[in-house]
Symmetry: C2
DNA sequence: GCAATTCGTCAAGCCAGTTGACGATCTGGC
DNA sequence: GCCAGATCGTCAACTGGCTTGACGAATTGC
């Protein structure tokens, strides 16, 4: 270690940048022109099932007001649908629209492509190890689940 | 892979968050109360030697106006000094002040502590592998040097 | 049944980035 | 030398996305 260690935080910032920039460079080429970076984590949160709006702040790690505006924006461009919470007339339920599901598919394809270029450098095995190690250390502090993301896009 | 892959981008966002939040939770406890997240990358850039202001936009990956304001803020709280570029009367040179150097030391200590908790989960060896793999893949696309960070704090 | 809490939104403010424009200085062709 | 054009840094105005504060509507618990 003759030269000073690059802080892990910087490496993560760079890795995140590389992937997110790669994604948002590619999406317009595939016809998706109204995707904001913050949409990604909402798509992910809604991936498998509708979600109550009240749960999103904790999932995303931001305020309910920020979530409200973010969901507004995604409803406006047609990626999610917001309807009534069947069990609580105060509440709202949010789910992917068909278009949102198509976008999620596109996002996952682009990420898969990008990760393939990583695999080309590292090899499948080290890439899998990278993912496993990151998952292990991140979930170790939060009882086995991945913690919420906050405000990084 | 029975459940869907967590995108690497999300893992990086989480890792970055965990480390940067850990840093900015700890710094005030050590008496550093006026440190903004964005300062970190400037400290790093000035670590070894004074730098010409004109080079910082490329290093940090933002506009010269943003750099100007950021350096303003760091000068105002006494972490860096901005004086004339000896070779060009239009230009400015930026360097760490004594206080800035002390802050950098504190930051590196805190990061070392945080990375120790990571090593406690992963072991030294896998942590070193993580760092090596990340460094390899990130510098592979930019000719062996790490690329600039952009606007992530 | 009524006080206290929760859900979502509106509104205003803030922080950090952007683009545009400008004075000051440097550079290169003549 | 000199002058047109480029470069350096800053000021200003704007933007996006977050925050906090406050509120109406609906629910919960005593």
């Amino acid at each position: 270690m003759s030269e000073p260690e690059v802080p892990l935080a910087r490496l993560f910032a760079l890795g995140y940048r590389a992937l997110v920039d790669g994604l948002h460079d590619e999406l317009p080429r595939r016809g998706w022109t109204d995707v904001r970076p913050a949409f990604g984590f909402v798509l992910l949160a809604l991936r498998d099932t509708p979600v109550l709006l009240r749960d999103l702040p904790a999932t995303l790690g931001t305020s309910k007001q920020a979530v409200s505006k973010l969901v507004d924006a995604m409803v406006a461009v047609g990626y999610v649908e917001r309807d009534a919470d069947p069990g609580d007339a105060r509440g709202k339920r949010v789910q992917l629209s068909d278009r949102g599901r198509q976008l999620l598919t596109a996002v996952e394809e682009v990420y898969a492509d990008l990760e393939r270029t990583w695999a080309a450098v590292l090899g499948e095995e080290r890439l899998a190890g990278l993912r496993a190690d990151l998952t292990a250390v991140l979930s170790s502090t939060t009882g086995g689940r991945l913690p919420p993301v906050r405000a990084v896009g």
